[in-house]
Amino acid sequence: MERTFLIKNPSVMVFIALLALFTVAVTFLSEGLGTGFISTAMVKTLGMTLCFCLIAIAMDLVWGYCGILSLGHFAFFGLGGYMIGMWLMYARTEDIVAASLANAELPPTEQEVVDAIGTQIFGVVGSSEFPWVWAFADSLLIQLILVVAVPGLLALIFGWLAFRSRVTGVYLSILTQAMTLALSLYLFQNDSGLRGNNGLSGLQNIPGMADTPQSTLSVWFFWASAVALAGGYLFAAWVVSGKFGSVIRGIRDDEARVRFLGYPVEGYKLFVFTLTAVMAGIAGALYYPQAGIINPAEVAPIASIYLAVWVAIGGRGRLYGAVIGAAFVSLLSTWFTGGRVPDVNLGFYTIEWVSWWQVALGVSFVLVTLFAPKGIGGLVDLFINRKTPDRHGEDLGPDKGSLREKEADA
């Protein structure tokens, strides 16, 4: 990454600086390493929020820049989580089993240990056999590779089939919904090998670190999430800043034209789709150890729709917009659904935010789309004097995903 890249993209430096500041502040206020002003639960929430910001960047790349409205990226997020979750659960159970068998008169054989782990993990689904998907669960290295390989491969196969047949627009969005629905239904089955609707749990307990309190672990994971977000942001900014960014924005606005220039459009889409799936997988792998549990409901179709809502509210087509949208909406949602927001008593009806929050979110999504398509990120324009072109309501290209007049700058 050359210096000119950073100089040409001052927003990247601003973002990294703000993120660093935020990380330092949270560290000094945390329970584990600081004054304790921020509870461990809150540190985890903030760390998870950073993971959401990372997947939002992926979503912005694929939708905001390349015009592919994927409504399935949470499937990749979930898969990343499952991959790391398998190792966490296996290794942690191994520790427990080893401790309990240590007092036995005869030292346990390897097979006995494995069987005991299997009984522990799969008892809830009435089994004790390890399914084949757990073949490498004892190896952290392999599971880490799978964190990127499994979402990447699924995206590659799905994208190859879809893009090759030139499926675009609404049809592609529906296909991605079908993909994430199918995945979640599959995972819900007890014989999927991933504990059905129980999912994987106890993921906050890091194997071999039983003596490190959660308050400290939470800060470490917060750091890791911050580093991943910074890396993801830098990488995405680099990708979109050069000619590659030019090509994918061209695909977003007018893919036929890009084709006639000689660019293999399908290859570009596949590349971006797979790359962002990998980013989503990494975000998921950092998220679930902080959440502590992953189950098939996490990859339900609605999750991916929320992702699009975050990016839309934050402002698509600009990376910091995606980050702002994800952070703002997910934190607000935590706040509203946490039950700590006072109910509004209208006399004839009491608005309970836990259930009404969804409605409020839906309404604000519609309002943003209609009246402020630049989203929250558009507020930045007020400071840097970015102007919208006057195109009499015309979009910037003929394609469905193309930038609208109100989203563009002059």
Partner: protein, 246 residues
């Protein structure tokens, strides 16, 4: 004379309507050709077939010395073999600068990985600057293409075509929306381009075609009605009946 593009016996129908009917056409490696014909004659559809956008129901499209069939290639592959196209409506990337539009078109490796690692060299910058000057947009390079006037967008698209450096240039109604001076400039550019490559120009405007001083192919209802010099075809009774007579 050898041929660069040899189209033989192509037909295509849309919902039973024959837009192209047993059409044959060929052009040499350094030739300027005008295609005229009334609206709906199939001129744009012909370009769609050559560029791979539309598959013909029958017929052959052969390319180059090795007579490679273009029908098996995708749009992007056809473009890479050396067919450039200018659309009827100006189509430039409106959200991107004039400079970026030209850079996108500049003849380079088009694969995702090589584009990802691409960095503009000073030679590329010079090439773009020269092109921008040639199309009269030298001082507009940082501007968003969407802000340009209709005529300037036409220019930019022609510039992008030249940047692609194709062996065959298909130009659909380039003079639409241009002033007289701009038309003259366009004529000069097209004639210049045809010295080193094949150029096919679809045009309605007779004055414009006359100024191109080239062989003319008249299309009507999806097939060739007449071919020859402009004077020759305009004296053809059939041509007068279907086209000039109106």
């Amino acid at each position: 004379m050898s041929t660069l593009l040899e189209v033989s016996g192509i037909s295509v129908s849309f919902d039973g309507f024959k837009a192209i009917n047993n059409l044959s056409f060929s052009i040499g490696p350094a030739e300027l050709r005008a295609i005229i014909g009334p609206n709906g004659a199939g001129k744009t559809t012909f370009m769609d077939i050559v560029t791979g956008k539309t598959r013909p129901d029958e017929g052959q499209v052969l390319w180059g010395e090795k007579s490679q069939s273009l029908l098996r290639l995708s749009e992007s592959q056809i473009a890479q073999t050396g067919v450039g196209r200018k659309f009827q409506r100006p189509t430039v990337f409106e959200d991107q600068s004039v400079e970026d539009n030209l850079l996108l078109a500049l003849k380079k490796n088009r694969s995702p990985l090589s584009v990802l690692g691409f960095r503009k060299s000073s030679a590329d910058g010079d090439a773009i600057a020269a092109l921008a000057d040639e199309i009269g947009l030298g001082d507009q390079r940082p501007r968003k293409a969407g802000e340009l006037s209709h005529g300037q967008k036409q220019w930019l698209e022609i510039g992008m075509l030249l940047a692609q450096d194709p062996q065959l240039l298909l130009v659909d109604e380039p003079a639409a929306g241009m002033t007289l001076a701009e038309r003259e400039h366009t004529t000069a550019l097209l004639k210049q381009a045809a010295k080193t490559r094949a150029v096919v120009v679809v045009e309605h405007d007779m004055e414009f075609v006359r100024r191109l001083e080239c062989k003319v192919t008249v299309l009507h209802e999806g097939s060739v009605l007449a071919e020859g010099s402009l004077d020759h075809v305009t004296q053809n009774q059939e041509v007068i009946d279907v086209y000039l007579g109106r």
